[in-house]
Symmetry: C2
Subunit: 338 residues, 2 copies
Amino acid sequence: MTRIPFEVMKKEFARVFVKHGFTPARAEESAQLFAASSLDGVYSHGINRVPRFVDYIAKGYVHVDAVPTRIDGMGSIERYDGNLGPGDLNAKFCMERATAMAHASGMGVVTINNTHHWMRGGNYGWQAARAGCIGICWTNTESCMPPWGAKDAKVGNNPFVIAVPREEGPVVLDMAMSQFSYGKLQVTRLKNEMLPVDGGFDREGHLTRDPGAVEESMRILPTGFWKGSGLAILLDLVTALLAGGLSTCGIDKAKPAAEVSCYKASQIFIAFDPMLISGQDFVQQTVADAIDYLHTAIPAEKNGKVAFPGERTAKTRKENLAQGIPVNDVIWNQILGL
Amino acid sequence: MTRIPFEVMKKEFARVFVKHGFTPARAEESAQLFAASSLDGVYSHGINRVPRFVDYIAKGYVHVDAVPTRIDGMGSIERYDGNLGPGDLNAKFCMERATAMAHASGMGVVTINNTHHWMRGGNYGWQAARAGCIGICWTNTESCMPPWGAKDAKVGNNPFVIAVPREEGPVVLDMAMSQFSYGKLQVTRLKNEMLPVDGGFDREGHLTRDPGAVEESMRILPTGFWKGSGLAILLDLVTALLAGGLSTCGIDKAKPAAEVSCYKASQIFIAFDPMLISGQDFVQQTVADAIDYLHTAIPAEKNGKVAFPGERTAKTRKENLAQGIPVNDVIWNQILGL
């Protein structure tokens, strides 16, 4: 494990992206998003994902020069075709449009179809909050999780993001509909550890904390059992219907190869400008009171701390900015060789 | 247990509400919502809730004649003051406005503050779907659940509803942020049964399926552990900020008495007209394909069936319409005496 400064990592990513056909400006923009994910501790969708992203470009799945084109619009809604451009840049574009619309008239809804994996969804929540907006966005994905009561994967894990601006650091939730990702299962298994709570079913159909048993059965658990399964189904339908794009079922069928994730996904980005709607004083006071109240909760563990979503992220970011971002040497060397 | 025909139940509720000061038209409207909840199998927020609802009226918490008044509006957003009117009628009004706005320009967002418990949230999802709209709504509540990592209740269970229209019966998710309600814990304990999955912590801080142990510790479990806790925090903030109303923290402080639930709650109702946005053919085909695909999932249990959210509700409704709604005799007699 080595610690790499944020700027060094970002520069390296930008170099790789330019080499693979990005314009310097777009390479810089994408590098910023990937490096920001690692900076915030979301390594799975930061540095660890870069080799696969580059592989998709090389194979022609991701079109580096493609930008979203407007399909149509109506009232507070704008709809775009992602033209199979880089999913991170497409998503950033959409949230930018949504926040601009929110600044103008309170809210904006932007949908995109025919796009790619947006990498870390939380980035677009932080982006909305930085613009002073409430951001709500989600994406559908290919099937990767059995719906409740089933053995085989027929629903996506459809990450869902909600962000609320706050002067001292926003409140940002970034949750997938599975209790754990396959990445987390692998990491836990390699450490010979058990998951903190049940993560799926074993081959015999029993709930288990054993990550290897879940990897084997591929019966990863929806978060909240039937609830996360239901939410995944609804998030998928809403985004496909509003984006005029593919649902999970269509994504499964459109895949150009088994390993390609979120090919032609549909996404939705909603932004509200709460300052414009309710006034800055009210917004700041309400958020401050709610967070203060939450922090008065009595920790369950000695020396425990009750945190709001995004609070630990901010702490990790600060540490990683000061000390450098921890990277696996094998992956870092792989990046250097790309 | 007796089975009461839907129309008989509705008529009886309407009689009670008129007796407690409702106009006949509003009594009928509210009776329809309460009876529909029972019809759909949500007894906790249908018939079982009527005595408490009437008690709140008698104590002056719910103002039977109050209707929402418009605070302001901007673009696709309208905001209302609930004036402490009946929460069910206020919520129905808001979703009606939201769907009307959606029919006109694709989408509508309606917020309400200073309102009461909306009873069964799913009603407003079904309402949106009946109007051919995607409906998304949620409410905040008083604290009833410890945030993840805490011992004491500092977050609400903030029910979240998403509905998608479908000709043969809509897809409707109605989920609270706790894995189980206190009502479910009680019912399970009285049957001397265990919960199907962990429902909270016992006094020693261990996860347990024993409903009595959770009732004792009052450490009910957020759905998906840290995830449902985080989602509850964000849903609360968004609705308070956009409605210009109280957050959970404010609701806790505003309570006129310990047992009063959701006093001065904030709510948000979002409707999209997917037919207007994406065209009827696309909408119907996409939903049909997604549901067909889901139904191809292999059941985990022999003779099991994988259902979409709302599918079992429709089945229960059909049964209860044909055979009458099952009611506890004690509660039915209580209603007759109100």
